[in-house]
């Protein structure tokens, strides 16, 4: 049998069954109205849930962007310090982050579409529920068994079909939101574990540690050079280096060379 006819029958079967079960068709009007209000609540909750998930994705996208920027800065720093290996590592991680970002963009679009659909569904249902409420009161007021029976049946089928439709939309949105939340949770975990590094910058990743180590070594060298400049008159840096550094074994023969410069007193005074 035809697809569109079969679907119609499946949807209307549900409404008919509810009507058949009611002793007084007028009761079904009130009962149905309650169900409609519940369904409206459900759709609105659905819209809110999807919006929450969407915002979470937006936050994660921002975090990933920060991470990406940071890795780029790191790769520049590493390159400037002549550490191509470190720069390469930073860029590799950055491309991993970019992949996650692209993924999130797609998901964000899907969620946004779902949100729009649900918002429209909620508007349509609201309009129908309002119409049903009016119709319900009219039918109740002008009740004559046979006539009302038909009217109730029509109104009921119409709204019931809409409820089935909206119910499906809510279900779909729920499924999508759930799988999205699972993914978002996984990304949160990745960010937290440091595998993508913590974008908040509280935890140090190994690239940062290496860059900082290099930079502090550089500072030590600078400081050392400054001290050398202060202490020595600049003519005998080797002698001073040899004497100030007890580990510098190669400097051992140098004192003899330095002696002609007649500075034994200084050396004795320092040791």
């Amino acid at each position: 049998m035809s697809v569109m006819k079969r679907l119609q029958m499946i949807f209307s079967a549900k409404a008919n069954k509810a009507l058949d079960n009611a002793e007084d068709p007028r009761e079904t009007l009130d009962y149905s109205y309650q169900r409609q209000l519940e369904m409206l609540q459900k759709v609105r909750r659905g819209v809110a849930d999807v919006a929450t998930s969407r915002k979470r994705l937006e936050l994660q996208t921002q975090q990933l962007q920060q991470q990406s920027d940071k890795l780029e800065t790191q790769s520049r720093q590493a390159l400037a310090a002549g550490r191509e290996d470190l720069a390469r590592e930073a860029l590799t991680r950055r491309s991993g982050v970019a992949q996650q970002q692209a993924d999130l963009v797609t998901q964000h679009a899907a969620l946004q579409a779902e949100e729009e659909k649900l918002t429209l569904a909620s508007q349509r249902l609201q309009a129908k529920v309002d119409a049903f409420r009016t119709r319900k009161e009219t039918i109740k007021a002008t009740y004559t068994a046979a006539e009302a029976q038909t009217k109730i049946g029509e109104a009921f089928s119409g709204i019931s079909e809409e409820m089935g439709d909206v119910g499906l939309a809510v279900q779909r949105a729920e499924d999508k939101t759930q799988s999205m939340q699972a993914r978002a949770g996984a990304i949160d975990e990745l960010l937290a574990s440091g595998a993508l590094d913590d974008a908040s910058g509280t935890a140090k990743d190994d690239i940062t540690a290496e860059l900082e180590r290099m930079s502090s070594e550089g500072e030590v060298e600078l400081e050392l050079a400054r001290l050398k400049g202060e202490i020595g008159p600049g003519k005998a840096p080797e002698a001073i280096e040899g004497s100030t550094s007890p580990t510098a074994q190669p400097a051992a023969p140098q004192p003899e060379q330095a002696q002609p410069q007649a500075r034994p007193q200084t050396e004795e005074g320092r040791s």
């Binding site: 049998m1 035809s2 697809v3 569109m4 006819k5 079969r6 679907l7 119609q8 499946i10 949807f11 209307s12 079967a13 549900k14 409404a15 069954k17 169900r35 369904m39 659909k117 569904a121 508007q123 349509r124 309009a127 129908k128 309002d130 119409a131 049903f132 119709r135 029509e154 109104a155 089928s157 119409g158 709204i159 019931s160 079909e161 809409e162 409820m163 089935g164 439709d165 909206v166 119910g167 499906l168 939309a169 809510v170 279900q171």
Partner: protein, 94 residues
């Protein structure tokens, strides 16, 4: 006849166009039975396009039941099969 596109709303289509829609619907049915995702997609898309083009959108507050129902545009073959296999108690809420 009144046709509902799930997730979209209802359209009132002139009965004179019923044959055209039924023809497209048969194509859709064959695709579902054959399990052919590609022809299913194009058949569904054709049918929905025709309903939208030929039909007139019913206002949101109309309470008329539909004569025919169609799945949402982005439904997969699997989605439609699930819907069709559904009993009146099953998946469809409301």
């Amino acid at each position: 006849m009144i046709v509902r596109i799930l997730g979209e709303g209802q359209y009132s289509v002139d009965d004179a166009q019923a044959d055209l829609l039924n023809g497209l619907d048969s194509g859709l049915e064959r695709a579902v039975e054959a399990g052919d995702e590609d022809s299913f997609r194009s058949a569904l898309s054709d049918l929905l396009t025709q309903v939208r083009a030929l039909g007139e959108r019913l206002p949101d507050d109309s309470l008329e039941p539909s004569d025919a129902l169609l799945p949402t545009e982005d439904s997969s073959l699997e989605d439609v099969r699930t819907l069709l296999a559904d009993s009146s108690e099953g998946l469809i809420p409301g």
